[in-house]
Amino acid sequence: MKRQLTITAEPINEPALMVQRAMSDGMGAVVYFAGVVRGTEGDAAIKAIEYEAFQKMAEHQFGLLFNEMEKRWPVESIRVVHRVGVVKVNEPSLWVEVVAPHRGEAFEACQWLIDEMKRVVPIWKKPLA
């Protein structure tokens, strides 16, 4: 399984990521998720979210999740980008792409990874008004 993880203060360049996608002839499904900063947090309007990561541990915990993903589904490629620092409203803070032979497993693996990430990867957010 090809793995690519980027934790970065730079904006997520979706078209560039897309162009870098490689998949073999056995793969039939690409599922792609972008989590975008919304203009409200609870009831309050916000301008941005500041993300803080314990980067070394975040990388390690993502690695453990990738190991588990590889055991559970025939995923050929997983790519994850997570922003740190200030991410403005309407900009993506998280980007996930899963390539697998079939649709069902690609959707399942992608949703599982995001759920698990929100449980174990040490990244925190702070809304900025």
Binding site: G35, Y51, E52, A53, F54, K56, M57, A58, E59, H60, Q61, H82, S93, L94, I114, M117, K118, R119, V120, V121, P122, I123, W124, K125, K126
Partner: protein
């Protein structure tokens, strides 16, 4: 023995501190460390149950026996994405 302690997210504001060094007796556990930290930073007490604990890059429970020079991190529930 001495262990380094790092605080993340709003635990930095709670303690007013990003990192500190604690001295513990040999065989001291994370539980012992937490008790010492609450003495120094009383506001940590109220957050005890939701605080996550890592040694190095792995999660650990309160019974984990610390070793000289280990890096402990304390942080609130994670919220990536």
């Amino acid at each position: 023995m001495r262990v380094a302690v790092h605080f993340y997210s709003y635990l930095k504001e709670t303690t007013g501190c990003t990192e500190t060094v604690e001295t513990l007796a040999a065989g001291g556990t994370i539980d012992d460390l937490i008790k010492q930290l609450i003495e120094r930073f009383p506001k940590l007490g109220a957050m005890q149950n939701s605080t996550l604990i890592a040694v190095g890059v792995e999660y650990q429970g309160k019974n984990y026996v610390l070793k000289e020079g280990e890096e402990v991190s304390l942080f609130p529930p994670v919220q990536g994405g």
